[in-house]
Symmetry: C2
Subunit: 378 residues, 2 copies
């Protein structure tokens, strides 16, 4: 079925998470800011790893987790991302294929090792992440298989890619191919620090190349350089076909050219870790969208996926500092959403490619960058 | 402190666990017997791995887990075991050192890859294990550092070592050095299938080279080739200084030349996985023994360690099929035994080497192999 239609092809960093428990003092002693993701070089990665407690390894990466979640729900997905031909690269390849995602990007045969994200889980269950991008930096336009992009209704890109020049070119090549084929391009801003690093470029990109934007509250406020969520909302309307803004326990807001939906969060006892939740929110949303669901249904699927992830992580975190992670969480997604079992079954039966994406087609004419923000009624 | 006294030096297989969830049908389809550990070759390992779901990697190995638990409780420990100079070998070395265990065995620079144990966790939380021993097979007498053995009150050996001829020689060399230095030798039978494979040799070994024997009910019944636990008990008395027999929810029985203790299990809601529990039972027992505790106290520490492990694994298993594992479990041991916090603190303050081991010293004259079994009173 190598030439069958796909719901989503994702392009992102191919990362293995290396997870250890740590005390707050450890973060302080090592100058780390709790809850953030920062990029580190090999020397820093080795120095930090040497100080960490015993670890658990688990394949991850933001877009890769989203695709794993999508596949777990019954969607069809492929991934493009670079590993080295080392043990960790082999583990990543095994895991993403094992969850049902097509993955054929050639491994680098020399150069930096497979990327790893050193995750420190403090007793409050917050995750502090230090990422060595390694082989991910080698992703280039040559790794973008045009046929794969043409087969997918949505090409999904993670903001983290913007940290490397060659990966950025690969990203733009993929967006061009997708639009020529009449498909959609989605971007997840990934991380507020990532937005800080690339604000101007992201604005140009979103205005000219992106149809579906995922961002959380901090990211969208940073992107728009405004003081709060409502101000960002006014700015961002009209940026692209669909803008999906997540706000943790406050739920999410979804904008299209003609609609706005304010969706309450699914109840969770206590949200303590929204990292994996964001990845799986996108999985739920894209699964709904590519199967022809209306926007509120997409949001409901997404919220449920995120809530179940938070709950799973929280239960674990209380017990042992959360050794759950990445694709293992994603792979268990469908089983956890028992309440939606019937809906998901029906959506699984809907063939990929069989239903139109219910966001307004712009026929290639996307909104200009930084368009004068249309005001919401009232 | 490289030349300081040690509580325990362990010799065992250096293994990275590769853990995935699986359905019963998967075991059936692949001809696997639930709950067992069997050895497989590289080809079988690769074929099975390719069929497994996304995995979590976690350093493990029976003796290595025991030492990690001992170090977590506050004991001093060193490990001897062979990895390859690959990614997984680096992960194992990091993890065992991170939990505070000395580990300096040179990595193999060629030959088979680092050992891995493919663990399939079924919905009933049973673990079915297929081990590719890889670089462990390269462990040889050259890897036994005499100084390390001389520094340790107890040299602890895992039965699994018996699966490789060179490792067996290393084992005997270590036992010889330990006894010449007036130290004790402990053996854990590891696994009933392992006992089946090496019954005659194990009997000779235990009779002539072992002071402290750990076995569970199935293993000791297999070793003695009798019909049940009580018959094994009659056989085994006098085999060596201390015989520690574990019986899951039935607790444990500890025999010395002059004493017998029947210790009830610590209450656990439901014991569903005794794999890691056995390793950590030994950790608790050896921690007490090397700090000069009497036998009932050693048993209480051991039982508590095992129970906490079972409880932790069970809670997780119910939620996501248990991604807890190996050294991460072991490293969290002390924190879980809140009830014993005070006792453990006191024992931590007792310097290694400062207290005699309270089992009857045989002054080098150990019981003969298969000694006529002294009957228990009555």
């Amino acid at each position: 079925m190598a030439d069958s239609l796909l719901d989503v092809v994702g392009i992102g960093n191919a990362v293995v998470d290396v997870i250890a428990q740590a005390q707050d003092k450890f973060l302080d002693d090592n100058g780390l800011t709790k809850g953030t993701m920062v990029l580190i070089d090999l020397e820093e990665a080795e120095a930090l790893y040497a100080k960490m407690g015993p670890t658990i390894e688990c394949s991850g990466g933001s877009a890769a987790n989203t695709l794993a979640g999508l596949a777990s729900l019954g969607g069809t997905a492929a991934f493009i991302g670079k590993v080295r031909d080392d043990d960790l690269g082999g583990i990543f390849r095994h895991d993403i294929r094992a969850v049902g995602v097509e993955y054929d990007t050639a491994a680098a045969v020399d150069g930096p090792a497979t990327a790893r994200c050193l995750v420190l889980v403090t007793p409050d269950a917050q995750r502090t992440m230090q990422t060595y991008l390694g082989a991910c930096a080698e992703l280039s336009p040559r790794d973008i298989d045009p046929e794969l992009i043409e087969r997918a209704k949505v090409t999904y890109l993670e903001g983290y890619l913007w940290d490397r020049p060659e990966a950025k070119k690969a990203f733009k090549k993929a967006a061009g191919i997708a639009h020529e084929a009449g498909n959609k391009v989605a971007l997840n801003l990934s991380d507020p620090l990532c937005v800080d690093r690339h604000r101007t470029e992201f604005r140009e990109l979103i205005g000219n190349h992106v149809d579906i934007l995922f961002a959380n509250e901090t990211e969208i406020v940073s992107l728009c350089e405004v003081s709060g969520f409502d101000a960002a909302l006014q700015e961002v309307r009209g940026y692209c076909d669909v803008v999906v803004l997540t706000r943790s326990e406050k739920g999410s807001v979804v904008l299209t050219d003609s609609e706005i939906h304010i969706l309450d969060a699914e109840p969770v006892d206590k949200v303590v870790d929204t990292t994996g939740a964001g990845d799986l929110y996108a999985a739920g949303f894209l699964f709904g969208l590519t199967r022809g669901c209306d926007i509120p249904t997409c949001g409901r699927l997404a919220g449920k996926a995120a809530a179940e992830t938070s709950a799973a992580i929280e239960s674990l975190a209380r017990r042992l500092g959360s050794v759950e992670g990445g694709m293992v969480t994603a792979a268990g997604l469908a089983g956890r959403i028992a309440a939606l079992e019937k809906d998901i079954e029906a959506l699984r039966r809907a063939a990929p490619g069989g239903a139109p994406i219910p966001c307004e087609s712009t026929g290639g004419a996307r909104c200009p960058a930084r368009a004068p923000a249309p005001r919401l009624s009232g």
